[in-house]
């Protein structure tokens, strides 16, 4: 693959990561506005193929749910293109074959189920796009086998993610919403890792394996990132309880350090809670989950602060990890205050959504730090090019 094509692939991967973040934000808006079930059918939208649903009907909760679905389709498409792109010129015949198959599929749908002409149009347009793009497809070499495999893992995950989102609607299962939200975060980290590994920086990084941090620091990044993921799962659980704020004040909880959770107290909390949305009543379990999220927030802040201190101590000045560890710490501090603001704003949709997106970025940065620290070999030696000498000063010469 030429250098220009390689850079273009990397930029496309970064674009996909940004699209995933946008999608997570749109998902946050769906739950923040309680609009997850505003479109009762799936994969159709009020009987239309989703791409034909009239814009005039994008109102109220439908707007959030429908745009979330469209963005999901966009991310799916970008992920598929990325996976195919990694195969370089060898993907050309596949694109041609796939394009022809889709066009045949479109004709079949039109012939046997004329009422489903919208589906036929979508198949046909996609097939035509595949055929046309095969003529202009980059002629570069494929990426390494590991990267290509990761690309297809990403395609599998995005398909699974779409299915989970759809089944959550059709099976009425809130639990699936939690899995859907968690998988979204994992998918973001995978796409971020792909963007990182397709970057020119990574090739140099992989070639200079000697700069990897010590095993203690690698383990720390991994464990703290796992804590962040756990915190995001707790957050997703709270959001998918559809009960609003289980504890409406901060830093205290119902005016105390630890809220009362006996049945009488919970009944009193519910009596005083008047909302303009059809929220579920809160239960003692909801309160425990909320308090666990608060405690976990402190643990995560402490964990990232610890990782930041470790990074400053162990890695020399100029080491890229030092800068990213600082970004990580900054993000978690912002995230902590966004969490507090979410409570103070009574879970205002825009604030709560910003909290979700910042949480996702915090996980992404931690995940990428961990990936870079472990520096897995994803390229074949021939793809790495000449070894680039280290540009950072040794630890002994650096200081903190």
């Amino acid at each position: 693959m030429s250098k220009a094509t390689s850079v273009a692939l990397h930029r496309f991967a970064v674009l996909t990561v940004l699209a995933v973040l946008l999608l997570i934000g749109a998902g946050g808006l769906v739950t923040s506005h309680g609009a997850g079930m505003a479109v009762p059918d799936w994969p159709n939208t009020y009987g239309y193929n989703m791409f034909f649903f009239p814009i005039s009907h994008w109102i109220g909760g439908i707007f959030y749910e429908h745009t979330h679905r469209l963005l999901g389709a966009l991310v799916g498409l970008l992920t598929l293109i990325l996976a195919i792109w990694m195969h370089g010129a060898t993907a050309r015949p596949w694109l041609r074959a796939g394009g022809v198959a889709l066009l045949v599929g479109a004709a079949t749908v039109l012939g046997f189920w004329p009422a489903r002409w919208q589906d036929a149009v979508v198949l046909g347009v996609t097939g035509l796009a595949a055929l046309v793009s095969s003529a202009f497809w980059p002629r570069g070499d494929p990426q390494s086998a590991r990267l290509r495999r990761l690309g297809w893992v990403a395609v599998g995950l995005v398909v699974l993610q779409g299915l989970l989102g759809g089944l959550r609607v059709t099976l009425y299962k809130d639990e699936l919403g939690i899995v859907h939200a968690t998988l979204a975060q994992l998918f973001l980290v995978l796409m971020g890792a792909l963007a990182l590994m397709t970057s020119p920086w990574w090739r140099q990084w992989e070639a200079r394996g000697a700069e990897e941090p010590g095993s203690a620091l690698r383990g720390l990044y991994a464990w703290v990132t796992a804590l962040v993921l756990g915190q995001l799962v707790l957050g997703a659980t709270m959001r998918h309880e559809h009960a609003g704020l289980a504890v409406p004040d901060f830093p205290l909880a119902y005016g105390r350090l630890w809220p009362a959770t006996d049945p009488e107290s919970v009944a009193r909390y519910n009596q005083q809670r008047l909302e303009t949305r059809a929220l579920n009543d809160i239960t003692a379990t909801h309160i425990y989950v909320h308090m666990a999220h608060r405690i976990m927030a402190l643990v995560v802040v402490a964990g990232i602060a610890w990782a930041w201190i470790g990074t400053r101590r162990q890695l020399a000045r100029g080491h890229p990890f030092r800068r990213w560890a600082t970004v990580w710490l900054g993000l978690v501090v912002v995230q902590f205050f966004l969490g507090a603001w979410t409570v103070w704003s009574n879970k205002a949709a825009d604030v709560a959504t910003l909290h979700v997106v910042t949480g996702a970025v915090t996980l992404l940065v931690g995940g990428l730090l961990a990936v870079a620290a472990f520096a897995p070999r994803v390229h074949e030696p021939a793809q790495l090019g000449p070894q680039v000498p280290a540009v950072v000063a040794p630890a002994s010469a650096g200081g903190t």
Binding site: M37, A38, Y46, G47, G60, G61, A267, Q271, L274
Partner: protein, 234 residues
């Protein structure tokens, strides 16, 4: 012919006999204390069609309280009686979507009784029920402007089954489902009447969506039993 007349006479006599021995429960439900103010719906603009329909501020009627504390929308029912539903032959109840709100806010029906959900608005809604009792099914269906009424029935008794519209998240209502016909909802004056109650000892239960549940042991004879309830703001 004579046989038919005798039969009719027998049925009429039995009916009279049953009503002659049936009692009536009536009373008043009040709220002690000042409830939190009902929330105002501010975000009608999420659907411009709703903004056109509704010009004035709309409150979600979580507490409908009269000047002397009369509490409306309290579901008063005989507790612990099952399998006595006459819902299958009862006329359908109606829940309407009007002015981007559900009307009424609280409704009571029997198991197996048909509930018609209408859409009187010139716009689209989705009707999403979220019952929790085993036997009652979650449903979520689109209802277009001018679309046919949706029919709902519930197999199991359950208090305050939520009906909601996710297109317009401020739209929700509650339906109480009873497994027998001896229940009532309090009106704006806080009063209720339950008629044709067979004599006997019962637990009478009064439930309000926000104020909670109160119970009283009562004995029904062939007369009128007065049972009042007083809820308190905690």
């Amino acid at each position: 012919m004579r046989g038919q007349n005798v039969g009719l006479l027998a049925v009429a006599t039995l009916g009279l006999a049953v009503s002659a021995v049936a009692g009536e429960i009536r009373g008043k439900v009040t709220l002690k204390g000042t409830p939190p103010p009902n929330p105002v719906v501010k975000d009608f603009s999420a659907d411009p069609n709703c903004s056109k329909l509704v010009k004035e501020a709309v409150y979600v009627p979580m507490f409908r309280v009269g000047p002397a504390g009369e509490l409306a929308d309290v579901f008063v029912t005989l507790d612990g009686i099952t399998g006595k539903s006459t819902g299958a032959s009862a006329p359908p109840a109606v829940l309407d979507q009007k002015g981007c709100m559900y009307v009424p806010y609280v409704l009571a029906i029997q198991t197996k009784q048909t509930l018609l959900v209408k859409n009187s608005d010139p716009l689209l809604h989705n009707v999403h029920t979220t019952p929790t009792a085993p036997g009652n099914k979650v449903r979520n269906e689109a209802q277009l402007a001018g679309g046919p009424d949706l029919r709902f029935t519930f197999d199991a008794p359950e208090k305050f089954v939520r009906f909601k519209c996710d297109v317009h998240p401020w739209m929700f209502a509650y339906v109480c489902v009873s497994d027998h016909p001896w229940f009532a909802l309090t009106g704006a004056d806080g009063t209720y009447v339950i008629k044709d109650v067979p004599p006997g000892k019962y637990t009478l239960e009064a439930s309000h969506r926000k104020a909670g549940t109160l119970k009283k042991e009562i004995e029904v004879t062939d007369g009128v039993v007065n049972v009042d309830f007083v809820f308190e703001i905690k």
